[in-house]
């Protein structure tokens, strides 16, 4: 009996070992490059890792329902494994963990700052031979060669491609219009009016439940930072994260005038009009609170669907589910000349050096797929679904078939977003006109309002890179720590000048931004910025 048990155990282990060995052998066979013959002659397994802001609550359906995967695999004779996640720190941590484990995805997306480290560590390959306007004609409809060139960390080299990005910025604050109406208030148009309105949202029982359980404003600080959602930033003249003011480069969050921002945020906190959870809220917890009818105003940097009736998962519809009276409207509650910056390329498409060295065919095939995804055919499939079923097309006019789209895509985990990451939802770039029957006059008006908010070009198109050996992440971590310390512990901006000096010296802010200034000067040519102080 004893012998039998032992033999059984040993046999099991041996079998397991064989089984995994066999699998590896198979994979190698499929993966091996086929130098000769047409590029599609051998089936290749590709491994991609993609991310953008629209992948937070997205799940891919089962393989039989995933018509995009099927189309790609049939068209390009590949086996495509695609990892996806909302872009942010967690995505990069996950990516780094798989890089550390030695498995670099064949093609992956990374944010601008992170890509610099991957490039300098030699994880990515030189793309100049692969990514030409001849080989990628469709991709270059979305971004220009000049933009791609200016985006390189080292001029003259081509190491990262721009992820096609939305040109229109859709940053906006949103306010509960029904609360304003109920309390008989005018939409605020400057900081004093805004403070007054939000105070009434907190104290005036706008939801009429007889309890003082609402707040004027909330945000998501993730336990780390003082987010740009707070209108105090803009009220003190800081537009988004960087800008050029008085011919000087300004890193908004570490500028001396942040003292004013801190003081005003503290005033709001003390007045009790900001949800006290704002600091610990992890995104999208602040949107959830807004949907629960607990908050009267929030901010979004790019989700244009917030106040739309036509999107089933919009903040508007989620709030309405609890309170049919709810009415979110975009608002620009300040009297500043510029509200936000025009979008600039932020995320990058990178290709693994290991893949490029070992099987260049995989790179070629990956980029063929990428180019197809950015073509009209790919764009339509990855944004609107299958022709005839989810949309109809006559000439350049595309009309959505709402019912089929909702059943197969929107309510099935909004999964088209995974494949749609490579192109923003801007059909006009391809000369298409999109007609969504769900979008009412009401929604068009909202989109128009948001599009028309005043924006500026923050910086010339150049990628800013900190001096060698300095990690901007360390600087930002300390900066955030000081913001929070000033707001929640000191409860005053009085110590900010001293904190700022520490950031500039001990944490090398001055070195970093002096370097940024000289990089900007190099690209500006005709004029020269003042020295960073």
């Amino acid at each position: 009996m004893k012998k039998l048990v032992v033999l059984g155990l040993t046999a099991m282990i041996a079998l397991t070992a064989c089984a995994s060995g066999e699998k590896t052998a198979n994979e190698t066979a499929t993966a091996s490059p086929d130098g000769a013959g047409s590029p599609k002659s051998a089936k290749l397994s590709l491994n991609w890792s993609v991310a953008n802001v629209f992948l937070a609550n997205v799940t891919l359906p089962s393989a039989d329902k995933d018509f995009v995967k099927k189309a790609i695999e049939e068209k390009f004779n590949v086996d495509l494994k695609i990892d996806y996640m909302a872009i942010g720190k967690e995505y990069h941590d996950k990516l780094n963990a798989s890089l550390a484990g030695g498995s670099v995805p064949d093609l992956f997306i990374a944010a601008g700052a992170e890509s610099q480290k991957y490039i300098s560590d030699g994880i990515t390959t030189n793309l100049s031979t692969f990514f030409t306007p001849e080989t990628m004609p469709n991709y270059y409809k979305w971004v220009s060669k000049e933009e791609v060139d200016a985006f390189q960390p080292k001029q003259g080299e081509f190491t990262r491609a721009i992820m096609p990005f939305q040109r229109n910025a859709y940053a906006s604050w949103y306010i509960r219009q029904d609360w304003l109406d109920k309390l008989g208030l005018k939409p605020p148009a400057n900081y004093a009016e805004l403070t007054d309105v939000l105070t009434k949202f907190t104290k005036g029982d706008p939801d009429g439940n007889g309890k003082q359980d609402t707040y004027g404003f909330t945000a998501a600080g993730s336990g780390q930072s003082l987010p740009l959602d707070f209108p105090q930033w803009l009220n003190n003249g800081f537009v988004a994260d960087f800008m050029i003011a008085d011919n000087t480069f300004v890193d908004n969050r570490s500028d001396l005038k942040v003292q004013g921002v801190i003081d005003q945020v503290v005033e709001w906190n003390k007045a009790g009009i900001v949800d006290p959870d704002w600091f610990l809220n992890k995104s999208p917890a602040h949107v959830d609170k807004a949907a629960q009818g607990k908050v009267g105003m929030i901010f979004s940097t790019g989700d244009k669907t917030m106040a739309l009736d036509s999107v089933p998962t919009s903040l508007q519809n989620r709030t309405k589910a609890l309170n049919p009276e709810a009415n979110w409207q975009p608002i620009y509650p300040l009297d500043q000349p510029v509200m936000w910056k025009n979008n600039v390329p932020e995320n990058t498409i990178l290709v693994s050096k290991t893949t490029a060295d070992k099987s260049p065919d995989k790179v070629k095939r990956s980029l063929e797929i990428l180019d197809w995804l950015t073509s009209e055919e790919g764009f339509l499939l990855t944004h609107y679904g299958q022709e005839g079923k989810h949309y109809t097309k006559s000439g350049n006019k595309v009309t959505l078939n709402v019912e089929a789209f909702d059943t197969d895509i929107a309510k099935a985990g909004n999964w088209l977003n995974v494949y749609g990451v490579f192109t923003p939802d801007e059909p006009r770039v391809l000369g298409l006109e999109f007609n969504d029957p769900r979008i009412s006059e009401h929604d068009y008006a909202i989109l128009k309002t948001i599009e028309d908010y005043p924006k500026h070009n923050a910086l010339p198109p150049v990628s800013l890179i900190p001096p060698a050996g300095i990690n901007i992440g360390d600087f930002r971590k300390e900066m955030n720590k000081f913001h929070i310390k000033a707001v929640l512990e000191d409860e005053s901006g009085k110590n900010w000048p001293q904190y700022r000096e520490e950031l500039m010296t001990k944490f090398k802010g001055r070195e970093i931004f002096t370097e940024y200034t000289s990089q900007l000067n190099a690209s500006l040519k005709d004029k020269k910025l003042n020295d960073f102080k």
Binding site: K89, D93, A100, K117, G223, Q224, P276, L280, K481, I484
Partner: protein, 320 residues
């Protein structure tokens, strides 16, 4: 395991053959047991000993693409980076304090719960309590954080709301420097005590019942029995767990701290492992992260050996 050397010793005294031969034949006789050990040994070699070669990167400027063989050697530079780092003293202090809090705060409740359960005579009640108390062990820290947040969030938390509604003011315990470490210990007690008690319950079950009978005959009450029989019976297991825990003193619980940490409590909550994570996974400086790992393991090894010696001196038994 313990049977092997005794068998060998006995064999040696009665057998005139050379020692080596005797050993070999004893191995041969127990060959099936040795064969059964093989999978375990393979596991340890593959997953615990082979990766130790990776500590080489602690002495390298490690580059992912160049790998261990291609990266340049930098001697002790990575260790210098660690010890010169202004954060070093702070993270060591935090790690040690949190660890010691946890050792004390975790081992004692385990024993107490086990003792209490042991006194319960109603079987169904004992089983129910045991199941309820060890349930939380299977929750991940993310969920525990979610629970803690829904109780303690300054605006919407249950406890915070209660305190506010009672007119006792606004509390913000999750971002409070003074409360952060106690919160780690409390949540860990809540999560792990039920499971920790199982080991002591097993030890309690192995205490010879005749001892209790003899004590009762001698007129010992419940407390006397506890003091003279139960606690001494638990001593070996307690010391064993203590030694193991002391070896891991620089592991203050990465998952938990990483999830609970926020910018206001960095000063009291940033530990060695969160630092390693930042260096390794956020900055991709694996050499420095690995150097910290080597340092941690060395400290752990010294402490385990030290604690074992001390345990032997004081109580007569250690791990080896």
């Amino acid at each position: 395991m313990a049977a092997e050397p005794i068998a060998a010793r006995e064999k040696k005294s009665i057998d005139s053959r050379p020692w080596r031969q005797g050993k070999l034949s004893s191995v041969y006789r127990s060959r099936w047991f040795y064969l059964m050990m093989v999978p375990g040994l393979i596991y340890y070699i593959l997953f615990h000993y082979v990766p130790m070669a990776g500590t080489l990167i602690a002495f390298q400027n490690y580059n992912l693409m160049k790998g261990i063989w291609g990266s340049s050697w930098v001697g002790f530079d990575n260790f210098r980076i660690i010890f010169d780092n202004p954060e070093f003293l702070q993270i060591m202090r935090n790690t040690l304090i949190i660890s010691i809090y946890k050792i004390i705060g975790n081992m004692v409740p385990d024993v107490i719960l086990a003792l209490m359960l042991n006194e319960v005579r109603v079987r169904w009640f004992k089983k129910t309590v045991q199941t309820i108390t060890y349930g939380p062990y299977f929750l991940s820290w993310v969920i525990v954080y979610g629970l803690a947040f829904s109780f303690l969030a300054p605006g919407s938390g249950l406890i915070s709301t209660f305190v506010r509604d009672m007119g006792w003011g606004q509390i913000d315990l999750m971002a409070d420097k003074n409360f952060f470490r106690p919160m780690l210990v409390l949540t860990e007690i809540w999560k792990n005590t039920g499971f920790g008690a199982i080991i002591y319950l097993a030890a309690l079950a192995s205490i010879n019942q005749e001892l209790y009978e003899a004590a009762v005959v001698d007129g010992a009450g419940r407390w006397r029995q506890l003091w003279h029989i139960t606690l001494p019976g638990l001593r070996d297991v307690f010391v064993l767990l203590l030694i193991i825990r002391i070896g891991g003193i620089l592991d203050a619980g990465f998952d938990q701290v990483f999830i609970f940490l926020n910018a206001r409590v960095y000063d009291v909550g940033d530990i060695v492992d969160t630092w390693v994570y930042r260096y390794g996974f956020e900055r991709l400086e694996f050499g420095v992260a690995a150097a910290m790992g080597v340092f941690k393991s060395l400290v752990g090894l010294i402490l385990v050996i030290g604690a074992n010696k001390l345990a032997k001196k004081v109580g007569g038994s250690g791990i080896w």
